[in-house]
């Protein structure tokens, strides 16, 4: 049982990292960023090709994260920025971007899955009666580190404060002279970095392919709804909850239908609280 829980926590950390990126962007720009799947995919491929080209893993990972950040900011600058006043057009643009990014990856690297080797592939930790592969442990560590860093950014820095403000009342933030475009770009930058972290953290477990992020993205959206669109801590809590739920369902009921449990959770939330678990009138970040 505890092994199942540990696996659930691992899954939850993955969901949390991806969901936080989604919810940040949503809080600041009201955009359901489907394109994030493409960001994760391109990050993973960058890490893979850097690693295949001979770079030490740490550098390859950094390259992947940098790629994620760059692609994410590009989606903002080239596309999302122009529909800032038309939130209804956001799903359409998001889908268009996802098509582009996934198929760019397909074009560059082909559709076959590639495996990503990491230095900690063969590590197996044993604590109590529970074992955790090196890859999964690395994910948990990376997730905790990056989320803590984000928390510090949001709560202690001027930029982070501004981002929280923009999510709560965009116009009031603008009136104070906060440069909006920079805030949008920053939200996407952070989301891209988190996407890159997610990519290198779980690419070794699943194969690197243009479609590797689809299921995770779906679950991440459930998390975002669970935690409340725009709430970072909601995304973290929701991620862990969903990870455990899916883990339990997968272990005790049916592994093939893992994401279906997430769907059931989503449906129950939406039926009971159409605005998400922690919905308030103001959108919140952190």
């Amino acid at each position: 049982m505890s092994q199942v829980l540990v696996n659930g926590v691992f899954l939850g950390c993955l969901f949390a990292v991806v969901a936080v990126g989604l919810t940040l962007v949503y809080g600041v720009m009201e955009v359901p960023n489907f394109a994030h799947a493409g960001v994760i995919v391109l990050s993973a491929y960058t890490t893979w090709s850097a690693s295949a080209a001979g770079l030490p893993f740490a550098l390859a990972a950094l390259a992947g994260i940098a790629c994620g950040a760059l692609v994410s900011v590009l989606t903002e600058v080239l596309a999302y920025r122009w529909i800032i006043d038309r939130p209804a057009a956001a799903p359409a643009v998001a889908l268009g971007l996802m098509l582009i990014l996934q198929n760019v990856a397909l074009r560059l690297y082909g559709g076959e899955g590639r495996s990503l080797d990491t230095p900690y592939d063969r590590v197996l930790l044993r604590l109590g009666g529970v074992s955790l592969s090196g890859v999964k442990a690395a994910l948990v560590v990376l997730a905790v580190v990056s989320l803590l860093a984000l928390h510090l950014l949001l709560s202690r820095t001027s930029l982070g404060r501004a981002m929280r403000a923009v999510a709560q009342d965009r116009e009031a933030a603008a009136i104070l002279g906060i440069p909006m475009r920079r805030q949008y770009a920053l939200a996407f930058l952070i989301a891209g970095v988190l996407g890159g972290v997610a990519a290198i953290a779980y690419a070794p477990t699943f194969q690197v392919s243009p479609y590797m992020a689809d299921e995770v993205l779906l679950s991440a959206f459930v998390v975002v709804v669970l935690g409340g669109l725009g709430s970072v801590w909601g995304a973290v809590a929701g991620g862990l909850v969903l990870g455990v739920v899916e883990g339990l369902g997968s272990a005790y009921l049916s592994p093939a239908y893992q994401s279906a449990f997430g769907f059931l959770l989503l449906v129950s939330i939406l039926v009971l609280r159409p605005g998400g678990l922690r919905s308030t009138n103001a959108r919140r970040v952190a």
Binding site: S158, R161, I175
Partner: protein, 235 residues
């Protein structure tokens, strides 16, 4: 100090402000009066580049700031305390205040924060509370304090008395009088005649997006132009 010349603001097919000109001298309190929908808020927003201007020249302290964006205007010394206060409800009072000084250095922010706490003692004791939990009058004070954090030389205020009890209005009035005494110029959009009478030396009356009257406050208020504007009869 502030010279607005021939300002026109349209939102799509609607013209909210039509050729409005007004001036506010340094160290004065200037009122902007008018009924709902007269274009008062749009005028303030237009000055701060938060509304699309079709025409108009804005001069501040002798310099032409027409092309400045909001950030540049705030840095130049103009601040706006918006209608309905618009504090960030789920952020602490301190965070709200710090945001008022966005873009300045950390040391400057801290100094100004300390000055704010010196001036408004009660705010200091509640600084960690979420701003949404304050009463209307308290929120208004914090909103003014937040605007002051950018050390403006001109403070625009959009109906600071709206939704407040008479006692709270008096408190806000006292705060504003204090600020004016310190030398900051104020442009006050208001519907509360008592507040206007107490604070403003001169005022403008807007109706249907245009200036229909202006001048020293005592004369203006006894003039039919003002009651016309409020009752909606054409000037």
């Amino acid at each position: 100090m502030l010279d607005v010349h021939d300002l026109t603001i349209t939102f799509g097919p609607t013209t909210a402000v039509r050729g409005v000109s007004l001036t506010a001298a340094a160290g004065t309190v200037t009122g902007v009066l008018g009924a709902n929908g007269a274009g008062k808020t749009s005028t303030l927003l237009g000055i701060l580049a938060r509304a699309p201007r079709q025409s108009g020249r804005i001069t501040f302290d002798g310099a032409d700031v027409t092309g400045f964006d909001t950030g540049a205007l705030v840095r130049a010394g103009i601040a706006l305390c918006p209608e309905n206060r618009r504090l960030f409800p789920n952020m602490s009072i301190e965070d709200n205040l710090l945001l008022g000084a966005y873009g300045t250095g950390r040391a400057t922010r801290r100094t100004r924060l300390r000055d704010t706490y010196d001036r408004f003692g009660w705010v200091a004791t509640r600084r960690a509370e979420p701003a949404g939990r304050l009463s209307g009058g308290q929120q208004q004070t914090v909103a003014i304090a937040r605007a002051l954090m950018s050390a403006p030389r001109l403070l625009l205020l959009d109906e600071p008395s709206s939704g407040l009890s008479p006692v709270a209005v008096d408190e806000v009035g006292a705060v504003l009088a204090d600020i004016a005494r310190d030398g900051t110029a104020l442009v006050l959009v208001e519907q509360n005649v008592r507040l206007v009478r107490a604070l403003c030396a001169t005022a403008y009356v807007l109706a249907h997006g245009q200036v229909t009257a202006s001048g020293p406050v005592p004369e203006l208020l006894s003039d039919t132009a003002v009651s016309d504007a409020y009752l909606g009869t054409t000037a």
